[in-house]
């Protein structure tokens, strides 16, 4: 039994190490020279991430607090169900919806449209992680705050949310690392751009979009691996920070 478990867990590691090995092997040598080419993608990715995160974090946290504090009520059940639906929606469909809802009315692809798509993808992740963290807090914290005569919002903002900070922060980092590699929703919204574009009202590039472009361009295929390596390193970095905070918080 023990051996079988070990065997299967080793098997699941094979694809992971195969990917890491291949990307490292093919991409490491080109990493430096690729950087100058993908700078536009890095700038676009960061701009869109910042905008999406800035909107998704407050809304997601409030939603998560609402769900954990009102569980069992009708409104909470509806929101909870919609969160699940949103989380399960294929990203390409979110891209099309944002295309119809933002790109067409504003008459053009833009970084803003891209960040709307990323925001929609992040929101359910942050709502869920906030809700889970809040549920883990001991009830006695809330009771102690209210027993001192604290008003409900003050107890939430001064006692409960700060106590849950580590868990919520970890959830945000994981949500960012989860959407950073999204390509499909950006194809319909941010489109891509061949220069370093700081104006988010115009089409901007993103690292995963560049990987797709490199793949389709026979003269640039050597950069597929180094751009992928760059993206992997970034995601890995975010995950390590998230793990660190999760551990520290416990």
């Amino acid at each position: 039994m023990h051996i079988t478990v070990c065997l299967f867990s080793a098997l699941t590691c094979i694809p992971l190490f195969a990917i890491l090995g291949k990307v490292l092997y093919e991409g490491a040598s080109e990493l430096g020279s690729t950087f100058s080419v993908i700078v536009g993608g890095i700038v676009g990715t960061l701009l869109m991430l910042i905008m999406a995160t800035a909107v998704a974090v407050p809304i997601g946290i409030l939603g998560g607090v609402f769900l954990s504090e009102n569980k069992g009520t009708k409104v909470a059940n509806v929101i909870s169900y919609m969160t699940d639906l949103l989380q399960g929606t294929p990203s390409i469909i979110i891209g099309i919806i944002v295309y119809i809802g933002v790109v067409i009315p504003t008459r053009g692809y833009s970084g803003v449209a891209g960040s709307v798509a990323l925001f929609i993808m992040m929101l359910p992740l942050i709502i869920r992680s906030t809700e889970e963290t809040m549920k883990m807090l001991p009830l006695s914290l809330k009771e102690a705050g209210l027993a001192l005569g604290g008003s409900y919002p003050r107890v939430v903002f001064k006692v409960l949310l700060p106590s849950a900070f580590g868990g919520i922060f970890t959830g945000i980092l994981l949500a960012v690392s989860r959407i950073i590699g999204e390509t499909a929703p950006l194809m319909f919204t941010a489109l891509g751009c061949s220069i370093v574009q700081w104006d988010v009202r115009r089409p901007v590039s993103a690292v995963p979009l560049l990987i797709w472009q490199f793949f389709n361009d026979p003269t640039m295929q050597n950069m597929v691996w180094s751009a992928s390596l760059f993206l992997l390193i970034f995601v890995l970095f975010l995950n390590i920070i998230a793990k660190y905070f999760a551990q520290k918080w416990k």
Partner: protein, 255 residues
């Protein structure tokens, strides 16, 4: 037994968790000012439920109904603003629960910050020192007031929680088995502390431990199955209980 000039009067109080099951049944009692009153009884007898009715903690949960009147200095707290009531009636819980993200000093001041009351810096330091002194914690923590409250030992944490409750100068302090999670030495310290504190604040303590009631309380209640079976001077109750059930509980036949 008659209590003169009671600070708190509990009149025909019933608490029910579900429509047909009453956890506290028609309790009547008057609480003596600046004394310690203990509520004893076996698990599930409704002693904590009664205590939590007094600072309106039951309102946090759906479906719990509290009926009757509870008069604090002649005002019915069940018909007052709950926040006002809780500022006037402090509570200490079974497990020490200092706020984990706050320092020792911030924990003492938590009642003020959670009520949005602004306090000048010098006044703040005064409140912190006074209340930490009155729980005997000042000398132990004065060099580390900015450390997290959760770094303290269990007994120290519980004294910090008492200081936090006292900082708002409540008229009444409710303690829900405050020493049941502590070792005997820490328990002893808290019992001594309660003796000192009763000059400033009236204390009601729920306890599982009858010898604790005997040691510290001037008056004791015995509750059983939601009823207040007996309420008397502690000495009288322990030597000459009137009710059969009280006598059996006190000699350890059940509970």
């Amino acid at each position: 037994m008659e209590i003169k000039d009671p600070i708190l009067e509990i009149k025909d109080v019933c608490v029910s968790y579900t429509r047909d099951v009453m956890a506290v049944k028609h309790v009547n009692a008057a609480i003596k000012k600046n004394e310690i009153t203990a509520i004893m009884g076996p698990s599930g007898c409704g002693k904590s439920t009664l205590l939590r009715a007094i600072n309106r903690m039951h309102e946090l949960y759906k479906g719990i109904r509290v009926e009757g009147e509870i008069l604090l200095s002649k005002h019915d707290i069940l018909r007052m603003d709950a926040i006002q009531v809780r500022r006037n009636i402090g509570m200490v819980f079974q497990r020490p629960n200092p706020f984990p993200t706050m320092s020792i000093a911030e924990n003492v001041m938590a009642g003020y910050s959670l009520n949005g009351i602004h306090v000048s810096k010098s006044r703040k330091n005064e409140i912190i020192e006074k209340n930490l002194r009155s729980v005997g914690l000042w000398d132990e923590v004065k060099d580390g007031l900015n450390k997290r409250g959760t770094f303290l030992s269990g007994g120290q944490q519980q004294r910090l929680c008492i200081a936090r409750a006292l900082a708002l100068k409540p008229e009444l302090l409710l303690m829900d088995e405050p020493t049941s999670a502590l070792d005997p030495i820490a328990t002893n310290r808290i019992e001594d502390l309660m003796e000192d504190l009763k000059k400033e604040v009236t204390i009601m303590i729920v306890t599982h431990n009858m010898s604790q009631a005997k040691r510290i309380a001037a008056y004791s209640m015995f509750m059983y199955l939601g009823e207040l079976v007996e309420y008397d001077d502690t000495q009288v109750m322990f030597t000459n209980a009137k009710d059969q059930r009280t006598r059996e509980y006190l000699i350890g036949k059940f509970g």
